[in-house]
Symmetry: C2
Subunit: 243 residues, 2 copies
């Protein structure tokens, strides 16, 4: 099957490529492949030489690093539309993290050398990358801040608020995007800490958990609980997506 | 006094400007000013409209944000050679943090509009900014990781190791760059937590503290204590400077 038209369509919908010409996109599309992966597939490992970068079409991918004794530090869990692996360009072509699917995932694998040569000539592409990275950095500032000034239940509350529409009022239903164990890992919490913190959050705000669905009779309770201990206010200015 | 020659010399030594032409540098230099500030001077406040960015010639500057109730989250404490305020370009020309000197400081204030117009035309400048931001982001990944997998004494140990030469062996003397209270704030610790953690670190590694000087008979003890709980090894690959 010829994947090129599908790849081309996805590239056109990916902000990273919005300043690339039709010719360049066509070139990317013909030299890229679509990959389908089950849950738990590792695409590359931290410090491995980097030849390709990836664009997620469907599913979720976890970026992480491991200590010598196997403790995992989760850097991010990325949804559809996100790009990863391209940061190796700034680390002597070595991946700066490991990447593994956390559910069945479909993605595009594209050659890094094409991105590098396009970055030599296309100032708008480089500006787009700089702008996206700046947004990611700002979101990370916020995570660092929360780790030092919020407690664990407040950080779970913030995670849930980030999943809702920013103009919502009153009763709300929030769908967890992936397993609770992954939410815990994403927030850098041990399973037991997460479980205790979730109980406290339930008591403080009255939210109800039904499997992967969270219901709350008034979103304002969650906002008061979490956003009072934050340097942003709700609606949150730090929520622009860093695709 | 004409500051232009001094400013020009500093700009030429600042990595951000290494791809700017002599004409552009001259233009920056004539439109910038040197400022001298005492400890505690606030240059700008989070979300204020941004007109200028800054280059530190001497001293230290703290970047931070505050919650409504006045709790401060320290984002970074920057030494000589670093640039700050330029990230407002990616946030609708609003500063994304507040900035305050933590000791007497000398810096260059430069107009943001010049940087923006140069970014429209100079691809190498934008690439340089992207590369620097990528290094900062990687260092921040590491901080987030440490906040979740290292304990407080190990994080202080890592902070000290970052201040030493990366090829050092045996006996070592480390000079704290600023007040212990600022080190605590930079590491996101309350004063009491920091003090308790420092005692534990002393017991575990035998280091001695004399004012702002820290002495240790064998650096390897500190490496074993901190770097075993990290996804990097010593010498640390995440230490490149993000100037």
């Amino acid at each position: 099957m010829n994947d090129t038209p599908t790849i081309l369509k996805t590239l056109k919908n990916t902000p990273l490529f919005k300043h690339c010409s039709e010719t360049v996109l066509q070139n990317f599309a013909t030299q890229s492949t679509i990959m389908v992966a089950d849950k738990g597939q590792v695409f590359f490992v931290h410090e491995e030489p980097a030849k390709r970068f990836f664009i997620i079409m469907e599913g979720w991918v976890k970026l992480f690093r491991e200590t010598l004794d196997g403790t995992q530090a989760v850097i991010d869990i990325l949804p559809q539309g996100y790009v990863f692996g391209e940061s190796s360009i700034f680390q002597n072509d070595q991946y700066i993290y490991s990447a593994e699917t956390v559910e069945p995932t479909k993605l595009i694998a594209a050659p890094l050398h094409l991105l590098k040569s396009e970055m030599d000539n296309n100032i708008n592409l480089v500006r787009e990358m700089l702008s996206a990275l700046s947004i990611q950095k700002r979101q990370q500032d916020k995570e660092l801040e929360h780790l030092t000034i919020q407690n664990a239940p407040q950080r779970i509350g913030c995670f849930l608020l980030r999943l809702t529409s920013q103009d919502i009022k009153g009763r709300v239903r929030i769908q967890l995007p992936y397993d609770k164990s992954l939410v815990a890992a994403r927030l850098g919490m041990q399973a037991e800490t997460f479980s205790r913190a979730l109980s406290k959050l339930k008591n403080a705000t009255g939210l109800e958990i039904k499997g992967a669905t969270i219901e709350l009779d008034d979103i304002q309770k969650l906002i008061s609980f979490s956003c009072s201990v934050c340097t942003s206010e709700f609606p949150c200015k730090d929520l622009e997506c860093g695709k």
